[in-house]
Amino acid sequence: MTYVITGSCIKDDSCVEVCPVDCIHPKPGAPDFETAEQLYIDPEVCIDCDACVEACPVDAVYAEFEIPPKHEYALELNARFFEERGSTAERTRSAAA
């Protein structure tokens, strides 16, 4: 299982501060932080502890089994962010070089 962040995310980092396994990205200071429209949870790392749900001031985070239908797309979107991120980071580096 995993948790997912939906499009209501306001990027206030409350979840990043409480995540015990550092699975929420991008973090402030990361090269892709400013351009990210929201934060994402890495499903490979998330331990389902619920801390981010408690912390989020806009109820943007859901457990996988509780995602409302209108936000179901977010499950794939969160995973996809991490699938593509490696290559994005490489591209950012090569563009800067």
Binding site: G7, C9, K11, D12, T35, E37, V58, F81, A95
Partner: protein
């Protein structure tokens, strides 16, 4: 020692995050949030779209972290009007400007000021119950509206124009707007992007939503969904996750078969700039021109006119959404080029770059109108760290009358109808209880008189 007193001018998200930071980190004893509106939380109330209620619950966090922790709300008081900057400096050790960006950027094309052509921000304020825009009366009687711009405000106004009013009736949209939208004859909303799908400033969540509205046929002319060589190269080499998603959505919309049964239609146009708004006493049409993209000397992707062919789009309403712009404040430095308070990490600086003691900026008036809600939390932390550092180093000025009683006496004389925390709680309770009867989050009081009356109890 006298208590350290801070005035935060503007009770929007930037001001609220600043107050919350100061209350959490300590060292400051008395915080007053001074707000020109009778209600707090700024664009969270009057900017965030009514069908985005998820985000509006942030007001609960602001309430618990700001008002319940002892910061005072002083509403319906305009700094620079009802009280001056100099007067605040008499009663507070520090003044933090969090006033945002109140006006909009103009397009600089003929006809922009014709009746029927409005800043999208005014339209937003109108449907969100900002008492200053209650009488906007946008003309919704023609069958087509044109929205100029490709950011989230453009997406918001497009959605509000296209949504079924029955759906809006479940939100906290202002009643006067709901009534007007029920009578709306708009069938098509055309959204113009100066550059291409890869450069659109929509978040992919907003763009995705535009394509999934009940009863709305959202489409893109297929040739405008195709990436030009400059964009294709950029997307492949350094495209963001959002840009990749946006391009996918635009292609999806372009490939859809038309839905003849849809009640309304949204048409997203790309590489199109308005060159003139035309009409005889009121808006009748927008002339647009095709653009092409190129990289300038610094490698930035820019748009320029491609040929001189003009296409005319008939419409009765034009909403321009090309960015917010701040207005200068009396007696405080202002950067006329960047439209911000000149500052170094939030310390307001004068013409020669020296900090003005005890004066700070935060939010859009500090960094310009960029970023999303949460950006203000980090921004507030940066500015407030400067303030606390100045406090510890003894760099804050010594105000002659640093007392709550003195400022309260001044305000009682200038503004007997100011709205206190209790006044706001009375407004909030009334709006929520009216909302409960209609199964809505709240029913907004949308005139200043109604708000002040509710606050007075």
């Amino acid at each position: 020692m006298a208590p350290i007193r801070v005035a935060i001018v503007g009770a929007g998200p930037a001001g609220a995050f600043s107050a919350a930071w100061l209350l959490r980190e300590g060292g400051v004893h008395e915080i007053d949030l001074i707000e020109r509106q009778p209600t707090p939380w700024g664009l969270l109330r009057t900017g965030v779209a009514p069908d985005h209620q998820d985000i509006k619950v942030l007001d609960e966090r602001f309430d618990s972290e700001v008002l319940q922790r002892g910061a005072r709300f002083i509403g319906n008081v305009e700094v620079g009007g009802d009280v001056s900057h100099a007067e605040l400096m008499r009663h507070y050790h520090a003044v933090v400007y969090a006033v945002g960006a109140r006006t909009d950027k103009s397009l600089g094309i003929p006809g922009e000021d014709l009746p029927g052509s409005l800043p999208a921000t005014d339209f937003v304020a109108w449907y969100n119950g900002d008492p200053d825009r209650r009488d906007l009366a946008p003309d919704l009687s023609a069958s087509r509206a044109v929205v100029i711009g490709n950011g989230n405000v453009a997406a918001d106004v497009t959605r509000i124009l296209a949504l079924d009013p029955a759906e809006l009736a479940r939100t906290d949209i202002a009643d006067h707007a709901l009534e007007a939208l029920r009578e709306s004859r708009i069938e098509e909303v055309v959204v113009l992007g100066r550059r291409g799908p890869a450069q659109a400033a929509f978040t992919s969540a907003e763009l995705r939503d535009l394509g999934r509205l009940e009863g709305v046929d959202t489409r893109v002319p297929p040739d405008e969904a195709e990436l030009d060589p400059v964009s294709a190269e950029w997307l492949a080499s350094e495209g963001t996750f959002t840009a990749e998603r946006n391009v996918e959505f635009v292609r999806e919309f372009a490939a859809r078969p038309p839905q003849p049964d849809a009640k309304r239609r949204i048409v997203l146009r790309f590489l199109r700039s308005p060159v003139a708004i035309r009409g005889d006493g009121r808006v009748k049409a927008v002339d647009i021109q095709r653009n092409e993209l190129y990289r300038d000397d610094e490698g930035m992707i820019r748009a320029r006119a491609a040929g001189d062919e003009i296409e005319t789009i008939e419409c009765g309403l034009v909403l321009r959404s090309v960015g917010y712009r701040a207005v200068p404040l009396p007696d405080v430095p202002f950067d006329e080029r960047r439209f911000v308070l000149p500052n170094a990490r939030g310390r307001v600086i004068d013409g020669v770059g020296e900090p003005v003691p005890g004066v700070y900026a935060v939010g859009w008036i500090k960094r310009g109108p960029t970023g999303i809600l949460g950006t203000n939390k980090r921004d507030a932390a940066e500015s407030m760290r400067c303030l606390v550092e100045d406090l510890r180093e003894g760099r804050l000025p010594d105000p002659p009358e640093p007392s709550r009683e003195a400022v309260d006496a001044l305000l009682a004389e200038r503004k007997p109808d100011l709205v206190s925390v209790d006044g706001w709680r009375a407004i909030d309770a009334l709006e929520r209880s009216r909302g409960e009867q209609e199964q809505r989050p709240r029913v907004k009081l949308a005139s200043r008189d109604d708000l002040l009356q509710a606050a007075a109890g």
